[in-house]
C-alpha cells in the first residue's frame, strides 16, 4: 500500500511537469550560453548537444506526465487545454532535440526554449488544480480520428511554435545583428520548423474534419478553434509564398511568422473561452 502511494507520488503528473519545466529552463540557458560563446568566436566547450539533451529529457518527462494522467483515468489523456499545452511543450522540445544538430542548433535551442519554458510554467501556475484533475473523456471525443486529429495537430505545433519564435527573434535582432547573419540563420530555423509543422497541421485539420463528420455529420462548423486553425494554416501557406518573394523576404516574412505564433497561442489559450461564449457548454479546445 505504502509502496503504491509512493509510486503514485513519483508518477504524479504535476511533479513530472515541474521537473520538465526545470529541464527546459536549463536547456534554454545552456543554448543561450552556447550562442553567446559562438558569437564571441569561442568554440563550444564540453557537450555541444547539451541543449538537445536537456530539452529532449524535458519533453520525455512531459510525455510521462501525460501517460500518468492516462493511467489515472484509464483512457485517452489528451483533450483539455492543460493537457494540450503540456503536449505542445513536449512536441516543441522533442522536435528541437531530434531535428537540430550542428549548424543552427544553439540558435534553434534558444527559440524552442523561449517558447516551451514559459508556456509550460504559465500552464502549471495558472491552471486551477480542479481543472488540472484528470477526467475521463465524454464518448463523443473518441473513435479513431480524434486521437489522430489531436496528435497530428500537436506534432505540428512543435514545428510551428519554433518557426514563430524564430520569426519573432529574427524581427527583434533584425536591426542590430543583420550583418552577423543571425536573422538569416533564424529564417533557416523557421523554414525547418514550418516544413515540419505544415503537413502535420494539414493532416490534423483533415482528421478533425473526418472525426467531426463521423460524430456529428458536419465536417466544418466555423467554430473559433476551427477558424483560428484555418488562420494559422493560411498564415503558414502565406509564409511559404513570402519566403523567397522579392519585397517580402526578410522583415515582412518574419512578421508573417510572428503572426503564426500569435494565432497559434490564441488557438491554444483563448479558443476554449471564445467557444464557451458562443456556444455555452462547449469546452473542447481541439
Amino acid at each position: 500500500m505504502r509502496e503504491s502511494s509512493r509510486m503514485e507520488q513519483l508518477l504524479d503528473d504535476t511533479s513530472l511537469a515541474t521537473a520538465a519545466a526545470l529541464l527546459l529552463a536549463a536547456g534554454t540557458i545552456v543554448a543561450s550560453l552556447q550562442l553567446l560563446r559562438s558569437r564571441a568566436g569561442e568554440n563550444p566547450r564540453a557537450n555541444p548537444d547539451g541543449p538537445q539533451w536537456l530539452l529532449g529529457a524535458g519533453g520525455y518527462l512531459l510525455l510521462l506526465a501525460l501517460a500518468a494522467r492516462g493511467l489515472t483515468i484509464r483512457g485517452w489523456p489528451l483533450a483539455r487545454r492543460y493537457e494540450i499545452l503540456l503536449l505542445s511543450a513536449a512536441s516543441l522540445a522533442l522536435f528541437y532535440a531530434f531535428g537540430f544538430h550542428g549548424e543552427h542548433s544553439a540558435l534553434a535551442g534558444v527559440c524552442a526554449g523561449l517558447v516551451a519554458t514559459p508556456m509550460l510554467v504559465l500552464n502549471l501556475l495558472f491552471t486551477p488544480s480542479g481543472v488540472r484533475e484528470p477526467q475521463p473523456l465524454p464518448p463523443l471525443l473518441g473513435g479513431t480520428w480524434f486521437p489522430v486529429h489531436v496528435l497530428a495537430t500537436v506534432v505540428s505545433y512543435g514545428g510551428l511554435l519554433l518557426a514563430g519564435s524564430a520569426g519573432i527573434l529574427g524581427l527583434v535582432s533584425g536591426g542590430s545583428a543583420e550583418s552577423s547573419g543571425i536573422p538569416r540563420q533564424l529564417d533557416e530555423v523557421a523554414y525547418i520548423g514550418l516544413s515540419w509543422g505544415y503537413p502535420w497541421l494539414t493532416l490534423g485539420m483533415i482528421a478533425g474534419a473526418v472525426w467531426s463528420w463521423e460524430s456529428w455529420g458536419v465536417f466544418w462548423s466555423w467554430n473559433s478553434k476551427e477558424v483560428l486553425s484555418l488562420s494559422t494554416w493560411a498564415l503558414c501557406a502565406l509564409a511559404f509564398h513570402t519566403r523567397r518573394l522579392k519585397g517580402w523576404r526578410g522583415r515582412p516574412h518574419r512578421v508573417v511568422l510572428g503572426l503564426v505564433l500569435l494565432v497559434l497561442l490564441l488557438t491554444l489559450l483563448v479558443s476554449q473561452r471564445l467557444a464557451q461564449q458562443a456556444v455555452p457548454g462547449i469546452e473542447y479546445v481541439f
Binding site: P139, L140, G142, G143, L194, S195, W196, Y198, P199, T202, L203, M205, I206, A209, V210, W213, E214, S215, W216, G217, V218, F219, W220, S221, W222, N223, S224, E226, V227, L228, L230, S231, A234, L235, A237, L238, H241, T242, L245, W248, L259, V263, L274, Q277, A278, V279, P280
Partner: protein, 414 residues
C-alpha cells in the same frame, strides 16, 4: 504590328498576374484578416438557412454572445470572394506551371558528366575506397568506368518533388469542389424510429429502418437497427458516439427517449381509437419532459403517464405511473404500473407497452469524399515539397583514391 499584339500582351499579363505568387500573398493576407475579424468583431447574425443548413442548426451561436457569428463570417461575401480568388489564383498557377514541372521531372539527366566537370568539382576527397562509396553517400550507384580505371557514380532523390506543388494546389481545388458540393447538394433530415415499426428514410423512400433493440438497458449504450434497402437486409449498431452509413446516408443518433403506447377496446371487443400529441403513434418523452398525455376521444377519457427519472433516461423496464380521468375531472385510475400490462377501467380494456424511440439524423454530403481527396492531395503534396528535397550527385573515383563530387545544388549531401 505592335497594335495587333496588344490584346495578346494584355491577356498574357493578366494570365501572369493571376498565376503570380504575389497575388496569392495578398489574397492570403486578406483571407486571414477576414477570418480573424470574423472572430473578434461583432457581426450581424447570419440569415436563417433555407432547408435547415447543417452548420447553423448544429452549432447556432447563442443569442447573448457579443461576437463570434462565425457562420456569418463564413458567408460574408468578402470572404467568399477572397476564397474564390485564391482558388482561381491556385488553379491558374497550376495550369501555368504544370507543363514546365512535368518536363522538369521527366527530363533525361546525364548520369555521367564530361571530364572537365569532375576536374572542377567543388569537393575532392582523398583515400576513398570505391566499395565504401554507397555508405558514404546513400543512393549513389556505379554508372560506368573508363579504360584508365576511373569509376563513375550517380545518385538522385526527390525527382518527383516538384509535382508536390501541383498536388498541393490541386488539393485546394478539390476542397473547393467539396465546398460547392456541400453547399448545393448536402442534406440533413431527422427521422424518428418507433419501437418495432419500419420507417422510411425521408430522402430514400425505399429504405426502411426498424428499431429492433438496444445494446444495453438504455439506447445510450447503442441501438440495433434493421435496414431494408429494398434489395438487401442489413443490421446496424448505432451509438451516440458512433455513426454508420446505410442506403448511401450517414446515420447519427440525435436523441432518444422513452416511448409508450396503449391500445383500448370496448366491453364488446371493439378497438377504440387512442390519440397522442402531434398525431404520433406513440407517446414520446423527449428531453426535459417528465409526463405525457393521451386521449380516448370517444369516451372522453384523458390519460397521463409519468415515468420515473430512471425510465425517463431511456430505460423501458422501469415501472411508471398511469392516471386516467373523465372529462369532468373524475379520476378513474391512478396507480404505479408495470411497463407493460393491461387493466379494465370504466368498461374499457386498456393494454399498454413501453419501449424507446430513437431520433436519427440522416445526412448526405457529397462534399465529404472531395474533402478527403483534397486533404489527401494537400498532405501528400506538402510532404513531397517540404520533406523530400531534390538532389542529384555525380562522383568520379580515380585509382589514386580521389573522389571528385558535384551536386546540382548547394553543399555536399549528408
Amino acid at each position: 504590328m505592335v497594335r495587333e499584339m496588344r490584346p495578346q500582351q494584355i491577356a498574357r499579363r493578366c494570365w501572369n498576374f493571376l498565376a503570380s505568387r504575389r497575388l496569392s500573398v495578398f489574397l492570403f493576407l486578406g483571407a486571414v484578416a477576414l477570418l480573424l475579424l470574423g472572430i473578434f468583431v461583432p457581426q450581424p447574425a447570419p440569415p436563417p438557412l433555407p432547408g435547415g443548413g447543417i452548420a447553423q442548426t448544429e452549432l447556432a451561436p447563442s443569442r447573448d454572445s457579443r461576437f463570434l457569428h462565425w457562420v456569418g463570417a463564413a458567408r460574408a461575401a468578402a470572404l467568399q470572394g477572397v476564397a474564390a480568388a485564391l482558388l482561381l489564383n491556385g488553379f491558374v498557377c497550376t495550369v501555368d506551371r504544370a507543363g514546365r514541372v512535368w518536363r522538369t521531372v521527366t527530363r533525361a539527366v546525364p548520369r555521367r558528366l564530361p571530364d572537365e566537370a569532375y576536374e572542377r568539382a567543388p569537393a575532392r576527397l582523398g583515400g576513398v575506397h570505391p566499395e565504401r562509396l554507397p555508405h558514404l553517400f546513400r543512393g549513389l550507384h556505379n554508372v560506368g568506368s573508363s579504360p584508365e580505371g576511373a569509376r563513375f557514380f550517380y545518385g538522385e532523390r526527390g525527382r518527383w518533388t516538384p509535382l508536390g506543388t501541383l498536388f498541393t494546389h490541386l488539393g485546394l481545388l478539390f476542397l473547393l469542389a467539396a465546398a460547392i458540393a456541400h453547399g448545393t447538394t448536402s442534406s440533413s433530415t431527422h427521422v424518428v424510429l418507433e419501437p418495432g415499426s419500419p420507417t422510411a428514410l425521408p430522402t430514400r423512400s425505399k429504405c426502411l429502418l426498424t428499431l429492433t433493440g438496444m445494446a444495453g438497458d438504455s439506447p445510450g449504450e447503442g441501438v440495433r437497427i434493421e435496414v431494408d434497402s429494398g434489395n438487401r437486409l442489413g443490421r446496424l449498431l448505432l451509438t451516440p458516439a458512433r455513426s454508420r452509413s446505410a442506403c448511401g446516408v450517414r446515420l447519427y443518433v440525435s436523441t432518444y427517449g422513452l416511448a409508450w403506447q396503449a391500445t383500448a377496446a370496448s366491453a364488446q371487443g371493439l378497438e377504440l381509437p387512442v390519440h397522442y400529441p402531434e398525431a404520433a403513434e406513440w407517446l414520446h418523452f423527449t428531453e426535459g419532459q417528465t409526463a405525457g398525455t393521451f386521449a380516448l376521444p370517444a369516451q372522453g377519457i384523458t390519460g397521463t403517464v409519468i415515468p420515473s427519472p430512471d425510465a425517463l433516461s431511456g430505460r423501458p423496464a422501469e415501472p411508471l405511473r398511469l392516471r386516467l380521468e373523465r372529462a369532468g375531472g373524475a379520476v378513474l385510475f391512478d396507480s404505479t404500473v408495470e411497463p407493460s400490462g393491461e387493466r379494465e377501467v370504466g368498461g374499457i380494456r386498456l393494454a399498454w407497452q413501453t419501449g424507446v424511440f430513437v431520433q436519427l439524423k440522416a445526412v448526405t454530403d457529397p462534399g465529404f469524399p472531395w474533402l478527403v481527396a483534397g486533404g489527401g492531395s494537400l498532405v501528400l503534396g506538402a510532404c513531397l515539397v517540404l520533406w523530400w528535397r531534390p538532389r542529384r550527385v555525380w562522383a568520379r573515383w580515380t585509382p589514386d583514391g580521389v573522389l571528385a563530387v558535384r551536386t546540382d545544388r548547394g553543399p555536399l549531401p549528408q
